[in-house]
């Protein structure tokens, strides 16, 4: 509604004010909203939005800008596909891909009931109940629909391109949300920002088939619908919001952010005396329907009514009910009666709270205590993940560039002209900044709000400096609460934003801004935006577009070498080992082994069982014969390790080794001590000065087996490790229980075969006579039982 500065020019000649223009524009703008309600309520007024009318141009322009934003977002995410190929990236996406593949081949119910016996040997994993299925279902559904139309796309390509496609949807929902918060031009700017901002691209490049890719869309869309329902107080929008929330719950664990932010919004509105019936309708519907829907996801189950992170929502719900009830009573009772009742109610509430606290002390808090103990054990495993590190200032700028500087300005604009939904965006911004500061990976939730607020800031500045200042309008500063008293309709909102210009106002000079200052400021802003676009492309191209499954190195002449060692080794496992072979490796590679090699793994990236991981860590950090005992007990056939010493790859297992030791020490403090792996000076070294425990542990032996003979360079001695720049300390490595089964071309992946025992140990006592049980004859039955017991 604020865009008339763009639209007035055709009527410029008739220097009179033109409120009809504003009217036209407002109505047709609503017409072009992508929702059925607005279109329906406005039809029949005979205003057609053809190109002869400015409103037609405007909607065409918005459509084109959104379409181009989608296109730009999609294509800037394709660096990896163009440089390498259409391939699934990294670690978690391989699991998601594998599950999606399972879903698309076996159907939805089979997927929900899927017991994956190839993971966490011998425990297995109930996949259907331990994943957020939204991603797989989305990809599977798209694949199914395409195949129904005989578009024979491979499921892999669907998975690879899902995140870029959804980035376009994110751009559109960001546009919608920003339009609700501010105006259409800010919305378009926000859509362009979110399309290319690196903070979001980092999680949604083609091939990065991960929950975040679709969850940000769900997040933004839920917020849009929430703002819409708070504005209108209509159950229709609230139900839409619940459905979107349900999708979010099914897609990502980050839904907790929504279920805390929305109650916070409601709570703050209550504190600000901004309670209205619209708010009551919106939140009550949202909480109840959203709760029921979220509990439909098997992985979430009863968490929304049990765990502490959902309690805020429940508390605010109760508070809102009480508040509404009191409001109701206030109209009907005298002041005296009301006071009595109020005290009665308060004391009753206090009693309920007290009882709840007592109850919780026995149940919930007990759990909390247990959890903190559990987390303490978990600490090494959580801390060992690089994306759980706190965010540095550099990465804020790296991921958001100029937006990180401008978004406080947008926030200020919002707070200055505050209304219900701007309270929401302010809370969103503040909480997201906090979370992003805590953990690198939560940068992702900060990115959309930063885009929106920066867009508001830029848009306001442009309105001041770019537009014809006589046509400038004040930002829509309607107060929704008094609006509510009149009528409950969505249409009203747009109307209220309309501010007529007066003939008399035209004579007043706005601010003493000369055209020079205007053009300088505009140029400066445009330069900033240009630099932002350049930075985004550069970051995307250089930092976020590596599949990490395939490595590339560049020669001096610019030609490229592809190091495909990971896939070489995984494919060897897939082709040339027994179908049921069990592969032991550090958990980082679990998903990849399952996805690419299709073999059973002991531990994987779903680090739910710490003691199992610790056992693998123990095997890796013990000496060979002790490790052999562990491996025997775990039925290990092959051991896979990553070794970067030949090509200087720094992410290899020796560099991760201390984490294995720490995690193993957490569970087996008697057998493994971290200090044993350091030199007396407290250094971690692999050369001759290294600690003897390290030089004889299994990981060291497997990494450097026969490496001592290898001379990489004439300037360096044989056995020179390029990653750690040291000549290895133990060159004469002999393996007794293991043998080298495969080593990839650049030695990046080494696979060892665990030898079978030569002869059986003679039995020391008589065979136990076992009664023949005819219980589980068929294999199927046995499986079933297995499933239940886990």
């Amino acid at each position: 509604q604020n865009l008339s500065f763009q639209l007035n020019y055709p009527h410029e000649s008739s220097a009179s004010f033109s409120p009809n223009m504003a009217e036209h524009h407002t109505v047709s703008e609503c017409k072009h909203k992508a929702n059925p309600n607005a279109g329906g309520s406005l039809s029949g007024n005979g205003l057609s939005g053809g190109l002869t009318q400015p409103a037609g141009w405007q909607s065409l322009l918005s459509f084109t800008i959104l379409f181009l934003a989608w296109l730009a977002g999609f294509s800037s995410r394709l660096f990896a596909v163009i440089r390498f190929e259409s391939i699934i990236h990294e670690f978690d996406p391989w699991f998601n891909y594998r599950s999606t593949h399972h879903l698309s081949t076996n159907g939805f119910y089979e997927f929900l009931n899927w017991f994956d016996e190839r993971a966490w040997y011998p425990l297995g994993r109930i996949v259907g109940g331990t994943v957020y299925p939204g991603l797989m279902v989305t990809a599977g559904l798209i694949h199914y629909l395409l195949n129904l139309l005989h578009v024979t796309v491979h499921i892999r390509d669907v998975c690879v391109f899902l995140a870029p496609v959804f980035s376009g949807l994110t751009a559109i929902s960001t546009f919608l949300l920003t339009r609700e918060l501010w105006n259409q031009s800010a919305g378009l700017l926000a859509a362009c920002f979110i399309a290319i901002v690196p903070g979001y691209i980092s999680r949604s490049v083609a091939g990065s088939f991960d929950n975040e890719g679709i969850a940000i869309f769900a997040l933004q869309f839920t917020y849009y619908l929430w703002v819409k329902s708070v504005k209108t107080g209509s159950v229709f929008w609230t139900i839409g919001c619940c459905l979107s929330y349900f999708y979010m719950v099914s897609a990502w664990g980050g839904y907790v952010f929504i279920i805390n932010l929305i109650p916070l919004h409601v709570f703050v509105l209550l504190l600000m005396q901004r309670y209205s019936r619209r708010l009551y309708i919106a939140y009550s519907t949202f909480y109840i329907v959203g709760l029921v829907l979220s509990m439909q996801i098997p992985f979430v189950g009863f968490q929304p009514i049990r765990t502490s992170e959902h309690m805020a929502a429940a508390g605010v719900f109760a508070l809102l009910q009480a508040y509404a009830f009191l409001q109701y009573l206030k109209d009907r009772l005298t002041k005296q009666e009301f006071q009595t009742l109020f005290f009665l109610g308060v004391s009753l509430a206090a009693g309920v709270v007290f009882l709840t606290v007592i109850y919780l002390t026995y149940t919930e808090l007990g759990c909390l205590y247990l959890y903190s103990v559990y987390a303490k054990i978990h600490i090494p495993i959580i801390a060992s993940v690089s994306e759980h590190q706190p965010t540095t200032w550099v990465s804020f700028f790296f991921d958001l560039h100029i937006l990180v500087c401008t978004f406080p300005a947008g926030l200020w604009f919002c707070i200055k002209n505050v209304n219900d939904e701007r309270v929401f965006v302010a809370l969103y911004a503040i909480s997201a900044v906090y979370f992003a500061g805590v953990m690198v990976r939560l940068m992702l939730t900060l990115t959309p709000v930063v885009c929106m607020l920066s867009a508001i800031a830029f848009s306001s500045v442009f309105e001041h400096y770019l537009g014809d200042d006589t046509k400038r309008e004040n930002p829509p500063a309607e107060d929704s609460s008094d609006e509510d008293d009149k009528r409950n309709s969505g249409n009203l909102y747009d109307k209220a934003g309309k501010v007529r210009k007066h003939v008399s106002e035209q004579d007043k000079p706005e601010e003493g801004l000369g055209p020079n200052i205007k053009s300088i400021v505009t140029m400066l802003m445009l330069m900033l935006l240009m630099m932002f676009a350049v930075h985004c492309t550069w970051v995307t191209s250089n930092a976020y577009s590596s599949p990490s499954v395939v490595l590339a190195s560049y020669n001096h002449d610019g030609s490229r070498n592809i190091l495909d060692d990971f896939r070489e080794a995984y494919y060897w496992l897939r082709q040339n080992t027994d179908e049921h072979a069990r592969v032991m490796s550090w958990w980082d590679y679990g998903y990849q082994i399952a996805g690419m090699a299709n073999r059973t793994t002991l531990v994987d990236n779903n680090t739910w069982n710490n003691s199992h991981i610790a056992l693998v860590g123990k095997a890796m950090s013990s000496n060979e014969s002790a490790a052999y005992e562990i491996m025997k007990s775990l039925d290990v056939d092959y051991v896979l390790i990553i070794f970067g010493g030949v090509i200087g790859y720094s992410g290899d297992d020796i560099n991760k080794f201390l984490w294995m030791v720490r995690i193993a020490e957490g569970e087996h403090p008697k057998d493994i001590r971290e200090s044993d792996y350091f030199t007396p000076q407290g250094e971690f070294r692999v050369d001759k000065a290294g600690s003897p425990t390290l030089l004889n542990c299994l990981m060291y032996k497997m990494s450097y087996y026969r490496f001592g003979e290898m001379q990489l360079d004439f300037r360096t001695p044989p056995g020179f490790d390029r990653t750690r720049n040291a000549e290895i300390g133990n060159k004469d490595i002999r393996l007794k229980h293991l043998e080298e089964a495969f080593t990839s071309e650049h030695w990046l992946v080494r696979i060892y075969r665990v030898k079978k025992q030569e002869n059986r140990q003679p039995l020391e006592h008589k065979l136990r006579s076992v009664l023949a049980k005819q219980k589980y004859t068929s294999k199927k039955k046995g499986k079933k039982l297995n499933k239940k017991s886990v």
Binding site: D564, W572, E709
Partner: protein
């Protein structure tokens, strides 16, 4: 054309009796036999040049070839040709048959012309056997060399007696562990020569056994699926899914990358890479497997072919296998022939994968365009046709017919052309573009319908009234604006009049003002009535505006009169200016009030 082995018995059994007589009666004799056993690769290529003489009583039309019973199951290819005086060979037709009381497999060769009594004919027989070289020892370490054993026959297995015979065996290397020494053979580097053996009776066998080093790649394609998809839009897509296995001696113990990289003879029998020759016009070649591109390959475009250096992800040692997909596009004008609605596709049934290839199981899938009918497949050798299938891909509605054919045990000699005839109505070419056009049409039409029609579930009368009121208000605003514009015009006219003192123009301007003003006021009154009819309280405001406007108009008229009086000299200039000022002030005030009211609308 030669006949392969795929041909099986039933019809031959019927002729059994006749054949028995024929063999016995025809009195043929192998005058001179020169056999060559090429064992230098993983195949056993046995070729024999036989000088057949007719010593019988009558001319013969055919003669019989025989294969030993232990070699026959491994036969991949057999072909016979007449060695003429010229260079060109005339290949002969073969038919499988059998001879009672004798083991082995027999082929009846049809001669181009009857062999008269006493005449001689030089015939060249070529056979290729697969999987007859057995690695011994069957398991070797990485450092060891691969040794294989071949077991065969010293003599030519033939239903006819042989006068004179030599056997020449070509091996892969000089290193020979052992070989049978019938007739004191001579060994020279890689060649062992047996014979000559004189007067060998019919069906004679003598076990030959050669144990030698053979490090040539023992690659076997355990299965290959070749999919050919024909599009009438100018493209033929070929895709081969290949399961490859190293069938030599199985690797025992560890595989050491260090040794493999540093020592030249380490893993000598392993396969690092091989060359696949694709047709010269092949484009968009891809080489991949389940987990993506195999980045270790190279492509070389030569003048008459495209060479792909296929390098599996890992070197193939004995017993190791791999699986990959290779595919490319061909322009259809080189392979697709058409006459009216008749089409013929001439393509290789199986193509080159690597030199001396062995294919255990071949499946060919031919996907013809949607709507192809009367499909007829001509193959150079018998092949087993499976039931036809349907294939759906982009923009298909009722599916493309798929021909499925399978064959076992193929070698390089089977790289031959097949021809598929079918009819296809050219009108069907329009089907796919029309589908796309239709889909877009429906899309746009839906959008148009959606935008134009009201799909709201509930009718909101209040909203509708509001909308109506809004539109009326809008019109009112326009009209009021226009009216205000009129006053400005009037002012201009008055100013002009003050300079020109032409009362005619002023009067005419006044008249037009009056007329237009009346019209506008009437319009606004009409709208006001409509507003009232809608029950909107805005009508009162409009009424107020009207009232104010009347005052403004009066003021305008007043100022007009004042100016007239000024011009006529009835008032002094100063008085006029002061009165004009007060009038202007009043007007400004009134207009501000109107604005205020309009804002409230």
């Amino acid at each position: 054309m030669n006949r392969g082995t795929g041909f099986r018995l039933p019809s031959c059994l019927l002729r059994l009796a006749w054949l028995l007589c024929a063999v016995r009666a025809d009195g043929l004799v192998n005058e001179e036999v020169r056999r060559t056993l090429d064992l230098s690769t993983h195949l056993a290529k046995v070729s024999a040049e036989v000088l057949v003489a007719n010593h019988g009583a009558s001319a013969v039309q055919s003669f019989t070839l025989a294969l030993e019973s232990d070699l026959a199951p491994h036969l991949a290819y057999i072909g016979a040709s007449v060695k003429g005086d010229e260079e060109e060979d005339n290949s002969l037709a073969l038919k499988e048959t059998s001879i009672q009381g004798r083991s082995g497999t027999f082929f009846q060769v049809q001669l181009p012309s009857a062999l008269a009594v006493g005449e001689k004919l030089r015939v060249k027989v070529e056979t290729v056997f697969t999987h007859v070289l057995h690695p011994f020892p069957s398991h070797i370490t990485q450092a060891e060399k691969q040794l294989v054993v071949f077991q065969g026959n010293h003599y030519l297995y033939s239903p006819y007696p042989t006068r004179s015979q030599t056997t020449r065996v070509r091996l892969a290397s000089k290193t020979v562990e052992s070989y049978t020494k019938l007739g004191n053979p001579s060994k020279n580097d890689e060649v062992i020569e047996y014979g000559p053996f004189k007067d060998v009776p019919a069906f004679s066998q003598d076990a030959m056994k050669i144990h030698y080093e053979n490090n040539s790649p023992f690659l076997t394609i355990s299965s290959i699926t070749r999919t050919i998809e024909v599009s009438h839009w100018g493209n033929i897509a070929v895709e081969e899914t290949i399961d490859l296995r190293h069938t030599g001696a199985v690797l025992k113990g560890p595989f050491s990358r260090y040794d493999y990289q540093r020592q030249a003879d380490s893993g000598i029998s392993s396969v690092k890479s091989f060359k696949t020759i694709l047709p010269a016009s092949a484009q968009d070649v891809y080489y991949r497997d389940e987990i993506g591109n195999i980045s270790t390959s190279h492509l070389q475009v030569l003048e008459d072919s495209v060479e792909v250096e296929v390098r599996p992800r890992f070197p193939l040692f004995g017993g190791w296998k791999t699986h990959y997909i290779i595919g490319y596009n061909l322009p259809s004008y080189e392979y697709l022939y058409t006459l009216g609605d008749q089409y013929a596709l001439k393509m290789r049934l199986v193509d080159h994968v690597y030199d001396d290839q062995v294919i255990d199981q071949l499946t060919v899938k031919l996907i013809l365009p949607e709507g192809a009918r009367n499909v007829h497949l001509e193959t150079p050798y018998p092949i087993v046709r499976g039931p036809d299938q349907l294939h759906y891909t982009y923009l298909d509605t009722f599916g493309r017919p798929v021909l499925v054919a399978t064959k076992k045990n193929l070698v390089e000699h089977h790289i031959q052309d097949m021809v598929v005839h079918y009819t296809f109505n050219k009108i069907l070419m329009m089907q796919e573009p029309l589908l796309v056009v239709g889909a877009f049409y429906i899309l746009f039409f839906t959008v148009i319908v959606y935008v134009r029609l009201d799909f709201s579930i509930t009718k909101d009368p209040a909203a509708e009234v509001r909308m109506k009121v809004a539109s009326i208000t809008e019109q009112v605003l326009t009209l009021v604006n226009k009216r205000l514009g009129l006053y400005r015009h009037m002012d201009d006219a008055v100013n002009r009049y003050k300079q020109s003192r032409d009362s005619g123009t002023l009067n005419s301007a006044r008249k037009t003002l009056e007329a237009e003003h009346r019209a506008l006021t009437n319009d606004i009154t009409a709208l006001q009535a409509r507003l009232k009819a809608e029950g909107s309280d805005l009508a009162e405001k409009v009424g107020e505006v009207q009232k104010l406007d009347g005052q403004v108009k009066d003021l305008v008229c007043q100022s007009c009169q004042e100016s007239e009086r000024l011009v006529a000299g009835k008032v002094k200039k100063e008085t006029y200016i002061t009165s004009e000022k007060t009038l202007a002030g009043k007007r400004q005030e009134l207009i501000a009030r109107i604005d205020g009211l309009l804002d409230a609308l």
